[in-house]
Amino acid sequence: MKLTALQDKNVDELRMLLGVDAKKDLLLKKLSELGMPEIKNEIYRYFDTQSLLEKQYDRIRFVPKKIEESDKIEIVDGIIKTAPKGIRVYYGEYKEVDTAHFDPLYYLGHLLVSSVIIIELDGDVETEILHRFTQPDTLIAYRLVIKNQANRHATVYETFEGAHAEGSLVLYGYDMHIAKDSSLRFLKNQTMHNREYSMIASHKISVQKQANMVYKSFDFGDASALTLLKAELDRFAHIEAGHLLYIAGHAKRGIVSQIIHKDEHTTSHQEAKNILDDNARGIFDALVKVEPSAKYTKAYQNSKSILLAENTYMIAKPQLEIYVDELEASHGATMGQLDKRQLFYLQSRGISQTDARKMLVMAFANTLIEKIKDARHQERIKTSFEAAFHASNKAEEHLPTLLR
């Protein structure tokens, strides 16, 4: 199917086109109201969705298989393949779809699936989710729901493989419910290569009273993807969001987020580091909204970008929308090249330009990488980062010195 067919349609037309029943009319209404992404739509303005939506995709028939036991949760083309012992992973109906999400594709995602993958994290657990995409030129759509338990502390580490999914579009996303007094650390490590899949991920995170959410994304490679994230904070809830972007080639990649402080004493800390090489385009479009009911909020937001090559393009939109006076809020954004004086200093000590650049780029990224508590996860992400660095530097050796 072609997703552009869904543009400018009313609820009845959408119901027909998507083949869903009237039970989903509320979602259809939201999709119709928000409209399919297009250039005029502010949140998709800098991410070229048109070429992705125009394409004719195959669809996969949803055939659930028997879930085998393994050390991780493995999801292949949206179908659960394995799950570790002690973690409940199953298909189910999701009745708590956010009725006020800003992203139309959040609704499309929910409309395209007949059931969602529910992951229940019982107790203090740590688990890994591997997403594998195997089909070329296919629309791979699925939704996941994560629920943890009150007073418990869980960690989820997420990775992706998509070597055979050339030309596919993945529409996936989570609805996460972070229970009262609990914490969830969610680490995404995603290296995407050109001639693999593209992705639009649309999440909703509800952080309940006194809960603590950590969302860290490490996005590398030269393919395009956009993450859309909405987080809501209940009383005394905290979210820490970190986004490391290191992209090259013709990748367009980044995050569009809304962190909404709904009640008193909520805190948020969002930090993005963007490193762009070749012709890459980076997007950081992040809103922090403090509602009138959210006194004593603390909100901090920062984006720093390094433009390594002549044709890179960075867009930063750090935004504060504040309706209460008892708060502390600040944001900042910078973009520029590597510090020439630092580079020269290192080179004057005999370090090659490539190594000096690597050193500085690493140092820039490290504030996010080194904040990862678990040493094993930190190591894996560091490895991915270095691989991305080498990949983009190898390509560079063919360029004239001037452009380096």
Binding site: E310, M314, I322, M335
Partner: protein, 477 residues
């Protein structure tokens, strides 16, 4: 707009069809080709100007009112507005000016006579759409400076108007600018010749007076090579219950090595605390740094209007050109302001500075919206932005929506923003030294705005401070 009239416009029939009573002083509410021809005829405009207006009008009819701003207001009835009103008996000299008008000016602190004598400021006062008095023209003439109403400039300097009008803000730039292009009634034109440093501050006070007249000024300032001009625009309007639409267009052009400094103090009627009444201020202001090493500085102190929607910007085309934006925007009562700037870097080594201070009190909603764009060929372009918000009270809002785009790896953008309230600790410190709470708040607020006030010419800085106190009166406690 009925189809019949559109057809008429397209067919060009309106030229023959229009019939207006040019003896009238006020045109009845409504907007069509006839109204535009009336305005044009009333002002004795040449045909080319009337055609430009009609062209703008036909474009405007195809455009939709924008609603992306962080403001809300009931629909504007464009057909309910009267687009022209002139005071009776236009005066030839100051002595002929209606004493009542002079009195009103004095209440606003702009006694023409006194300013003429004491301050060395030439005032081109716009009273209800028509320029009633231009002073100091002789002194300016000596330097070859043209400072006159835009209507006069259309008559006397058509070559300059033809060349530069719409060159920075295109006719179809946006809904309100296009409307202005069709119906503008008067405004100011300034031309500073090559190598001339304008010997005095130029100033215009706008004032909306008659009931239900939209005010559509048009300002065009051209600074030729190596010249300098500082232009001040002050505005105030008396209390009115009806919302009044104000959609001005300001275009600035700075040639090589030229510097234009444009300062605004805006204290139009803000409406009451329920949001009733007040001015809708939907303004398009843009400067073009056309030549190398040119500079345009915008300074604005915005305390009035029910709704403000404006983004004085700079297009930095010349290499090494500089754009500056210093702003204090205060929203109190039920005011809404969505204001900021656009800095478009096109030339090499261009630089821009943005300092925006937003103050929200009572039910005021204050939004900073800015765009900084470094184009792919603007090597070495730099921007620094500082956007701070101060909240006074728990029902107001402060919003910061910057967009930063960099397409040049040698460019550098830095943006910082903070939002806070007046700290209890600061307030207590000042009160412990015997300063009353009200004075302490005013002191802290002035401190917060200092960077911007220091950009204003001295006498305007004093006025701005007084205005700020007046605006915030009663909003604390």
């Amino acid at each position: 707009m009925p189809q019949k009239e559109i057809d008429k416009a397209v067919a060009g029939e309106y030229r023959i069809g229009f019939q207006v009573d040019i003896e009238a002083d006020t045109v009845p509410p409504g907007l069509d080709e006839n109204t535009i021809c009336f305005i044009s005829a009333k002002k004795n405009e040449p045909e080319w100007m009337r055609d430009l207006r009609l062209k703008a009008f036909s474009k405007w009819k195809t455009m939709a009112e924008p609603h992306w701003g962080h403001v809300s207001y009931p629909p504007i009835g464009y057909q309910a507005i009267s687009y022209f009103s002139a005071p009776k008996n236009p005066p030839q000299s100051l002595d002929e000016v209606d004493p009542k008008i002079l009195e009103a000016y004095e209440k606003l602190g702009i006694p023409l006579e006194e300013q003429k004598q004491l301050q060395g400021i030439a005032v081109d006062a716009v009273f209800d759409s028509v320029s009633v008095k231009t002073t100091y023209t002789e002194e300016l003439n000596k330097h070859g400076i043209i400072f006159c109403s835009i209507s006069e400039a259309i008559q006397k300097h058509p070559e300059l108007i033809k060349k530069y009008m719409h060159s920075v803000v295109p006719m179809n730039d946006n809904f309100f600018a296009t409307l202005n292009s069709a119906v503008f009634t008067d405004g100011t034109f300034v031309y500073i010749p090559k190598g001339v440093r304008c010997p005095m501050e130029l100033s215009t006070y706008f004032r909306i007076n008659a009931l239900n007249t939209g005010q559509f000024e048009r300002t065009l300032i051209v600074a030729d090579e190596d010249s300098y001009v500082s232009y001040n625009e002050g505005c105030s309007a008396p209390t009115r219950d009806e919302n009044q639409l104000h959609a001005a267009v300001v275009e600035l052009i700075a040639m090589k090595n030229a510097h234009i400094k444009y300062s605004t103090i805006q204290n139009w009627y803000p409406g009451d605390e329920t949001g009733k009444g007040g001015i809708y201020n939907f303004v398009t202001k843009r400067g073009l740094c056309l030549g190398d090493n040119s500079k345009i500085s915008w300074t604005q102190v915005e305390t009035g209007s029910a709704i403000t929607w404006k983004y004085p910007g700079c297009i930095l085309k010349g290499d090494n050109s500089v754009g500056e934006f210093y702003s204090v925007a205060v929203t109190t009562l039920a005011q809404q302001a969505d204001t900021g700037t656009k800095m478009i870097h096109l030339g090499k080594n261009t630089s821009s500075t943005i300092v925006s201070k937003g103050i929200s009190a009572m039910k005021g909603q204050n939004t900073y919206r800015g765009l900084v764009k470094i184009g792919a060929h603007a090597q070495g372009a730099r921007n620094f932005s500082q956007c701070d918000s101060l909240l006074i009270g728990s029902e107001c809002g402060a919003h910061t929506f910057p967009t930063l785009e960099c397409k040049d790896s040698k460019g550098y953008i830095e943006h910082e923003a903070t939002t806070s309230k007046i700290s209890d600790e600061q307030l207590f410190y000042l009160r412990q030294r015997g300063i009353s709470e009200e004075d302490a708040v005013s002191m802290i607020v002035h401190g917060f705005c200092k960077e911007v006030f220091s950009q204003l010419p001295m006498e305007y800085a004093v006025e701005a401070k007084a205005l700020l106190n007046l605006t915030l009166e009663g909003s604390v406690g």
